[in-house]
Symmetry: C2
Subunit: 317 residues, 2 copies
């Protein structure tokens, strides 16, 4: 990717090249690692250090990346699973991101960071931009995009937008999340529609300066697959925003919710699945072949989404 290529353009190019608008989530939970990995790192109850756990997680990720990189355009790393392993976990996060990038994958850091001023700037430097080591600008995580939470308003977004512009990066702001109770706050009615709609409007406005040649902005939105009605509404209100869509698969979001997140051009959404891909082996009760099952599930998901887009007459391939 050229240094300053717009992130939305880059994302669309990779989705089109793999004919697959989906992203594989890498949210490795120690207790769900395949037996083979646990044995290799001699992990059993009472013997696990944070370091050994982080090494096992990194190997699991690399193996999954190896069997997914030619099929999916992007991976999403959920920071919580790495943070819970301390400094070693952060090393595994860094290494996983680098490995995925070396395989040509777009890497999204699911960090949902939020703060203001210089603190927000520090987050942005760490995850998207460059860290200032006494004048020497040094990349650290160098994610292609991250998730953010915009409850604080524009001042909580501005440093991210700057780095998006400088380094060709992207952000996805929480607008309408996938959890059942998300309407508790996001659905509260205001003078300008429900809160998710108010947030969606702000996100669209903030993103205008980052519009690529595709017409889409690099400042997109998180919109869950579990609420088709709300997704449809937001899709109409936020025509130029790219949606990162959680809730497919393990969280129960069906094809209808997923398809509601696409524009009539068959573009504008990338669908995430984490556990359903990573732990596909559990459904088959076949830990030994976890790579094959992960790949099969990623291909099944690709087909399911493509079929739905075709049914609606908006498939681009």
């Amino acid at each position: 990717m050229a240094m300053n290529e717009n992130f939305a353009d880059f994302l669309i190019r990779e989705i089109d090249s793999k004919e697959n608008p989906s992203v594989a989530g890498l949210d490795p939970s120690l207790s769900s690692l395949p037996q083979e990995i646990l044995e290799k790192y001699r992990l059993s109850s009472g013997t696990v250090s944070f370091k050994a756990a982080a090494e096992a997680v990194l190997e699991f990720n690399k193996n999954l990346i190896d069997c997914l990189y030619d099929t999916v355009p992007a991976v999403k790393l959920q920071s919580a699973y790495y943070e819970q392993l301390g400094p070693d976990g952060i090393s595994a996060l860094l290494e996983s991101a680098r490995y995925a990038k070396s395989k040509g994958l777009i890497v999204i850091g699911d960090v949902k960071r939020n703060d203001i001023g210089s603190t927000c700037g520090a987050y942005s430097s760490a995850y998207l931009g460059r860290v200032d080591l006494l004048g020497v600008k040094t990349p650290l995580f160098d994610f292609d995009a991250i998730t953010v939470n915009s409850y604080l308003g524009y001042e909580g977004i501005e440093p991210f937008l700057k780095d998006c512009s400088l380094y060709g990066k992207g952000i996805f702001s929480l607008v309408k999340t996938s959890n059942k109770g998300s309407l508790e706050f996001q659905g509260v009615m205001t003078d300008n529609g429900p809160n998710y709609s108010v947030m969606g409007h702000l996100v669209s406005e903030w993103g205008k300066s980052l519009t690529g040649s595709s017409g889409y902005s690099s400042a997109g939105a998180v919109v869950g697959a579990t609420f088709p009605h709300e997704a449809k509404l937001l899709r109409e209100e936020m025509k130029n925003s790219f949606f990162l869509v959680p809730g497919y698969g393990a969280q129960g979001g069906g094809a209808e919710g997923v398809v509601s997140c696409f524009n009539p051009d068959g573009c504008g959404a990338i669908i995430n699945s984490s556990r359903a891909i990573m732990y596909a082996y559990m459904k088959e009760n076949d830990s030994r072949n976890y790579k094959k099952h992960a790949r099969d599930e990623a291909l099944r998901m690709k087909k399911e989404i493509t079929d739905e887009l075709q049914k609606k007459g908006i498939c681009r391939w």
Copy 2:
């Protein structure tokens, strides 16, 4: 602190014992470290590794803690400044937290985390609870409290509340933040008042199960010192919520905003100051005596807040 003492009770006890309702923020930015520290770690442009930077930051923190621990009841570690130094930065965060705790300080992790389900559980395990290493529950950051962002609703808070109850911990949810543009979203009018008020109501409700013998809940709120009118309103609406108050000092929040955050019992708020304390030496242009200037500023702040509480006739000491 007894394993299961309620966090709000613990916080009030420490505030009363030091007669000081303030918290010192440790948000170490490399470019602002005193000359003495930069020299000791031989940090100059072009020579700085993340590891050396993190070591310098840890020493700076320890020195500040040494000169503040008998005066302030708590420190707040802003995670962004550590995250931007990678795995070494996370080690410095861990070590800073442990050192502060060893000096009897309450340690608040300013992480503003937010997610749902098992991901939220992973954050909570890392920062408040215990990490499950294949059946062995292991403390990691073990903060006394953290900041969280509740845009996702109750499902984004429940795992934190559980660990608060299990381990005597606390959370502070963003309600009304200190940034100038915070009303852009937080001030949007709903059928039940402005958004910050809606969020405040939810936070109060969620916190009820964590009420201590003091009458205050361990699930508190972040309410900025920079908006006295809004602070006063929230104070009336959230009588049993403890407020963590940013915006004092460097961000321009004055005594009026600060005092608005206290209840008539002279309790219910803890005021944060970060840069004004850490970098007090800059105002004096006296890098060599940065410890003395930090302590002087912490004492000045204590006196200023106490004076204001006395003027209002609600000082507890």
